[in-house]
């Protein structure tokens, strides 16, 4: 891959640093008629289990100031239907395909990954150890260093592809979890998943979401996400993919400057599915304005008070 926007993330080559974040872009094919999927650096699929999943009761989403609280509960078609029905349709697009893998048990994560291993169109595995809206797996694993190590190591053993755990922000020390993932054989890290939140209907004195708590996303969480991606990037030598409220090229640049090698665009997909071209154009303009040859020259260039570069 060449061009000013091309990046390499733990063995995953991307034509530009923008990926669609899991759970905000379906399986990719839903957007086929709306935009050219080849304008994306990559697509991260909705989380997939072995079997189809029903997801949570409704209401599942509630809007908050500059954000969205959701408890969808990983409704999905299951990995086999994805391999059979979705992956062939992605053949014609020049974009990386990253599959977000879920499980109720360590064995299920490994089994889903094993099934994907025979699918040629898959470029990398993202491990979902951070979904706050399921009773088992998800954040329950990603909030426990020992389980985190076990899941990442189990997935690492069954695939040759880049393995990218997606970290939860709902921990006291994200650097610790970043290091645990690196030790377990992760190729890169996705930082962050949604922040655990609660919105209350004051008339009914009940949570607005049927599940109770939910995951907060959107621009409301961006400063927290930038801080946590920065902490994770400093803690490990593997690349970090920044996620959290990106709506513009400047937002993406914040993550890149603090040390992320690429970024994922999430909730913004709901507001404007045409956002990728705009962000990419903004990144190119930034490189030109600063006389930089490529995105790589931006990554990790933060001048932090009291630190020498």
């Amino acid at each position: 891959m060449s061009g000013p926007l091309a990046v390499e993330v733990g063995g995953l080559s991307l034509k530009n640093p923008l990926l669609a974040a899991s759970g905000t872009f379906g399986y990719g094919v839903e957007y086929e008629s709306l935009l050219d999927l080849s304008t994306l650096g990559g697509i991260v699929s909705k989380g997939l289990y072995l079997e189809p999943r029903d997801g949570c009761d409704v209401p599942r989403i509630v809007e908050t100031p500059s954000g969205l609280l959701n408890a969808i509960g990983l409704q999905g078609v299951g990995v086999r239907a994805y391999v059979r029905d979705v992956l062939p349709r992605l053949e014609r697009y020049d974009t990386a395909v990253v599959v977000n893998v879920c499980g109720d048990t360590v064995e299920e994560y490994a089994e889903v990954t094993r099934i994907l291993e025979d699918a040629p169109r898959v470029d990398a595995i993202e491990i979902n150890i951070s979904c706050p809206n399921v009773k088992k797996g998800g954040m329950a694993f990603g909030g426990d260093p020992r389980m985190t190590h076990e899941v990442v190591a189990a997935v690492r053993r069954v695939t040759r592809r880049p393995v990218i755990p997606k970290l939860s922000p709902n921990v006291a020390d994200i650097a610790l979890f970043a290091r645990v993932c690196e030790e377990a054989g992760a190729s890169a890290l996705s930082c962050i998943n949604t922040l655990l939140g609660l919105v209350v209907d004051v008339e009914k004195r009940r949570p607005r979401l049927a599940f109770g708590t939910g995951g907060l996303s959107g621009p409301a969480i961006r400063p927290i996400a930038v801080r946590m991606a920065w902490q994770a990037a400093r803690a490990v030598s593997i690349p970090v993919i920044g996620i959290g409220g990106i709506m513009s090229a400047d937002d993406a640049l914040e993550f890149l400057i603090v040390g992320c090698s690429a970024v994922q665009v999430g909730t913004a997909n709901f507001v404007d599915p045409g956002i990728y071209e705009r962000i990419n154009a903004g990144l190119v303009a930034y490189l030109e304005r600063h006389g930089l040859a490529g995105i790589r020259d931006v990554v990790g260039t933060l001048a932090y008070p009291g630190e020498t570069k």
Binding site: L34, D54, E63, P65, I72, G218, F270, V271, P273
Partner: protein, 265 residues
Amino acid sequence: MPANLDVPLVSREALPGPYALLTFEHPQVAREARPGQFVMIKAHTAPEPFLRRPFSIMAVDRERGTFTLFLKGVGPGSRALIDLRVGEEAGCLGPLGRGFEAPPPGTEALLVAGGYGVAPFYMFAEELTALGRPFHLFYGGRSAPDLPLVEVLTESGYPLSLSTDDGTSGTPGRVTAPLTTYLDAAAGPSVLYACGPDAMLHAVARVARERGLGAQVSLDPWMGCGVGTCLGCVVRIQRPSDPRPKWRPACTEGPVFDARDVVWS
């Protein structure tokens, strides 16, 4: 195919109360929209609310390449749209979803609208007129001010029955009252179409079931994306081929569903 465009406001017509008709330029919506379909739209002038909002398409003008929305300024999203000045833009994705299907020849379409749920029936009435299908519109609300489209609909000459809960306009009581009276007197076959609050949709579905009539209902859950990816707007649906109910996104598989398939909560 839906298209995601920045669309300028072409004209705004204020209606009594918090209502307005807004016309935007959007060639794809104008050309391809079907009655009952919707757009996801948000005024560029207001950063909040964060998400776009779904609104039924009330009318299209294929020659001018425009479409019209009927809005009630109830929250920040709809108010920001109503406050747009002509020429200012909104981000707009559409046309989206599955709309109403016209009845077969010889079958009368009975359109049941609650409050601002009347919007898609304006366009549907135009289509039924063009198809030469008989139809009748039942337009109900809590009170006379909740029926701001009466004048527009009367001017169009559409067969119309009004009702209000408080009796300030038309038949006193729920909109299903004039509907059942009409059905009692009807000679030929008919299909029911409903758009409005959930309780009204459910009531129309019950009328249809009791009388063995087909019914199409337009559901209006909270929507995030409009294209089936956020799975926030799912509704419980059980089609004859489904062994058990399934969560289906209202944005792509609806918003119009066969009333018999809806699992009412």
